[in-house]
Structure formats: C-alpha cells, structure tokens
Amino acid sequence: MSTDTDRTPDHSSNTTEVSGVEIVFDEVVKTYPGLQYPAVDRLSITIPAGEIVMFVGPSGCGKTTSLKMINRLLEPTSGTITIDGVDIRKRDDDDLRRHIGFVIQGGSLFPHMTVAQNIAMVPKLLKWDKSRTADRVEELLDLVGLDPGRFRDRFPRELSGGEQQRVGVARGLAADPPVILMDEPFGAVDPITRQRLQDELLTIQEALRKTIVCVTHDIDEAIKLGDRILITEASAKVAQYDTPANILSSPANDFVRDFVGAGSALKTLSLSRVDEVQLYHQSSARVGESLAEVTRRARDHGDRSVILLDRNDRPLDWVWLSDLEGDQIREPRHDRDMLTVSHLATLNDALNSMLVSIHDGVVVTGGNDKYVGVAGFTEVTQLITRKATEAHERETADIARAPSDEELDEQIDEVPDAGSGDDDGDDDDRQRPEGE
C-alpha cells in the first residue's frame, strides 16, 4: 500500500466560531431530605464555552444531579450556577430550559408525535413562525444524517434505536441553544451504533462549538468525546477535572487511577484519533461512471478494489473490481449502511470496525460524511505500537513515584470496574469516604 499524506484532513484548525457559553458552578450543594450525605457537596467548577465536558463517576455519585441543576430540573440547596455570567435563578425556569438543549437516553421522543413535530417542539414553544420551523427541521435532520423526505413524517416507533437517538439530538439542537445537556445519551444502543453516534456528535460539535455537558458512566466514551472530564467520587466530590490526556498520564489520586485504568497502554488508544493515521487514498468510483474508466484508473493506482461513492461523495460500498458488472457503475443492490469511521473516531473504533470488514482496512469519512481515505490495518497497528512504546517509556520514567503492583492489585479489588452497570444505590456504601 502506498500512502497519500496530502489527503490527511485538516480539521484541527479551531477557527470555527464558538457558539457556546461558559457555565460556572460555585459552591453548589444539593441535599435531599432524609439522606445522611449530600448528593452534591460544594461543587465548584468552570465549564469553558464551546467545550464538551464529560461528567463521569460511579452510580449515585451525584453526576446526574449536578447536570439537572443546570437547567433547574433540580434546584440547588445552596450555592450558585451561572450561565454566561447570569445566575440561573434570576431567569424564568421554562424560559431558561427553552434555551438549553436537553438530550436523554434513548432520545425520549414523544411517541404520538412525528419526527418533525418532536424536533419542532421547542421552536413552537418559542413561537417561531411555521416556515422558519419547517426549514430548521429539514436542516437538523440533514445534520444528524437522516433524509428529511424519508424521516420527517415517521413516528418514533417506526425508527431504529440509533435513528431515535439521532432525532433526540436534533431535538436538543432545535432552537440553536448555546448549551446542551446530555444524560447518558448513547446508553441504549448497540456498540457499533454508539460509535457512529459519538462520531457524529464530534463532527457536529466541530462545526457548532456549543457548550456540551454530558453525563456518562463509560470512561471510554468520556475519553473519546470530552475536551475535559470531571471524575467525581461520592457527593460529587471532584476527584479530577482535566483533559483526557492529563487524566490518563497523571491521574490525581488512586481513585482516578483505578477508575480510568490509567497507565494501561490500551487506554491511551482512546486518545489517538483516526486522523493521526497515514491514510491510504484507495481509488473511488462514483455511481454512474463508466466501468472501463474506473477499472483503468484503479489498475493505474495499483488497486484491486474501489470505494463506491454516491453523488455527495459519501461511501456506499467497498467492492472488488472483479465483482463489478455492466458498462456503468451501479448503486449497490443491498440496502445496509456501510461501516465507516469518522476521522474523529478513536483507534479503538477503527480496530473494532476492521474486525467485521472483509478488507484489511476501514473507510474513513470527514465532514458531511464525505470519503477521505482508508485507514489500513498495518498503519493503524504501527501507530498503536508507537503509542504504546511511548506510553511505556513515560511510565518507566515515572516508576519511582508509582505504587507497586501489589498495591495496585489491592486497590483494584476494593474499587470494582467503574464501567459496570448503573443500578442506583449499589455503589453507595463502597464509595463513602473512609472513617465515617
């Protein structure tokens, strides 16, 4: 395989205008009557404008409570929360919520309303006129990758889980709010759909630069999506609030180290994105092109297979030249979606997708799901090896201050895997600070 470095996308330029605003928690406390410990105890953090901040922690640690205080679904017992410098208690609660997107697990769509009616709910509450709302619905469906003509008038029960979740995201974005709150948004879908939805969220965020606060119990999701991660212990006590890279390379304490599984070379894979891989520019063929021309072009390039693209340069299929028939390139007969990864996906995602592919690589897409290139198995594994070596070297350098293996083992026994389950209450006793 030859490499084609000038195809590497240039997405790192952060020139897009930030449309999000800053959120500040100042000494926020939330207590529930009858409970011995506060659900949230003196939480003070600043969520910078235009960033994705992930709240992670074990069940019952107050992360969802903290999230719901931002749009006043719950009121703090004391302390203040400001959005763009304005104390949220000074605003009418319904009006405040209409200007904050809210996305929850499974999309939580209204089953008696069509997709369009669901998305149009907040614009309707804000009394937008009909044509503006209709235009916005089309725009949003496009943005989340659903064809408006096909999906506008469907009811939620006629959609797959992933499609429902996409509509949920579109509904959250409907009135173009500067702040979006997400509560376990991708918890209810299968892993491949989840990876896609995460990729899409990153692509959307690249263009919109909203302030997104997202609660999850999945540390890998947090590392992938977050510009910053807030890891909390019981009572929303801040264990560490930092970038994913810093959390993995220098965990603040043992709780964080155990929670993220820091130090493991495999974890750092989540930090590397597909666009760090040198992409191979596999020959492509657009539907409607002449087969002879395509074959000639591919052979000249040294390829035995081509990527079929639709009119918008979105990949449709990856086919062997020998399987193509007729004079012209036709649409693939099957209707299934092609498995691709976004250039913002992690190396983990790329490897996962390769496992189910018949080719030794995975098709990478850029903005608007356009074809960018192919991440080959060799290139990906080479990058992984390099990253792992680097991580190992860093670790050996740090060995003097790191705890011994025995100590680590003991701690692992004490604090079980954070990614498991989300039943409320089961972690409560365990997470209490000692000596109480």
Partner: protein, 213 residues
C-alpha cells in the same frame, strides 16, 4: 308488534332521540369531570386510594337506590336522570383516566419539563394525548352502561325509552305490555351498538397514528 311500532313511530323515535341525547350529554359531562378528577388524583398521590375506593363502591350502588335517594332532593324529571347517569358514567372513565395518565413514562415528562413545557402544555400536548386511547376505552364502557342506567332513570319520569319499559311492567297481562317492554329493550340495544360504532370512529380519528395499536 310491527303494527305497534308503526302506530307509535313518532313517539318511539322521539324517545330514542331523547335517550341518546341524555346519554351523550351525561357522558360528555362525565368525561370532563373524570379527567379533571384524574388529573388531581395523579398529581397528589394521597388521593389515589380515595378515588379507587369511590369507583369500586360507586359501581356497587344500585342505580334505582341512588335515584330514590335523589328524589327528595331534586324532585322528578330530567335533573335526577342526568345526575344518576353522569354519576355512573364518571366511574369507568375516572378509573381508566387515572391508569392512562399514570402510564405516561416519567422519562417523557422529564423530557417535556426539560424542554421548557409548562404544566398546562405538558398536560395538553403530552399526557392527555398519550392517555387518550385508555380514556376512550373507558368512555365506551361508560356509554354502554349509561344506556341501561338511562332506562332506569325513567322511573323518576326521566326522558327516553325507559318510560316504555315501566309502562310495560305496570300493565303486565295487558294487551301491549310485552310490546312496550320489548320495543324499548331492543331499541336501547340497537342505539347502544350505533353509539359504540360512532365512538370507535372517534377513537380512530382522535388517536395519533404513532400510538395506535
């Protein structure tokens, strides 16, 4: 019997109209009452056992007894008939409305609140439409039952076909006794079936395609 119907056709159709009119108006009134009470009950958890108690006990009360109790208070004629029919019509609708409103997922309600929908709008746009199929099912049961209760209300000289039944009973052994009772009974059954058909159509038209079973 055919001759009986032909001779009294004008009276029979007028009484049929009155009967249906009494039931429809009472059921409409009952629906408004039942949904309002259900809203109250689902908002205050403590009221729920009270509502369940009233619906269970209410249905065991003989309608004739209730009518008897009302007579000294409101006299005879249309008023006691409306009160009795509305009372019984309310019970099945109330029970279904409570079940329907409670079955709306708390996630959806939180979603609605999180989007900035006020209490009233959440009720009108989310809770009521989602509970509607269950409420209409109660409405249909209630309408069928009310057709029978309306016949009994004629005992207090209320309007409708019930009058024929009591005339028939009073004249037992007389020439037209059986005709009176039979015509009224068959008439009520036919009207009940027609009303149910109408409600079925309304149910189809007013239930969102997204939640139709």
């Amino acid at each position: 019997m055919w001759q009986f119907v032909v001779d009294r056709w004008a009276d029979i159709s007028y009484r049929s109209f009155q009967h249906v009119s009494l039931v429809v108006q009472s059921v409409l009134l009952a629906t408004v009452i039942a949904v309002s009470v259900a809203l109250l009950v689902t908002s205050y958890a403590k009221l729920k056992p009270v509502a369940n108690f009233i619906t269970s006990v209410g249905l065991t009360l003989p309608s004739l007894a209730l009518l008897g109790l009302l007579l000294p208070l409101v006299g005879i004629g249309t008023l006691p008939a409306v009160i009795v029919v509305t009372f019984y019509a309310t019970l099945p609708i109330l029970r279904n409305a409570v079940v329907g409103l409670e079955s709306v997922s708390p996630n959806l309600l939180e979603s609605a609140r999180g989007m900035g929908m006020g209490q009233l709008r959440t009720f009108a746009d989310v809770r009521l439409p989602l509970a509607w199929p269950v409420i209409v099912a109660g409405l249909r049961v209630s309408t069928q039952m009310s057709m029978g209760v309306a016949a009994i209300a004629a005992y207090a000289l209320g309007p409708g076909l019930g009058g024929y039944i009591f005339t028939g009973l009073a004249q037992i052994g007389g020439a037209n006794a059986v005709n009176y009772a039979l015509v009224a009974t068959i008439g009520i059954v036919i009207l009940a079936l027609l009303l149910d058909l109408g409600l079925l159509v309304i149910e189809r038209l007013t239930t969102s395609k997204g939640i139709r079973i």
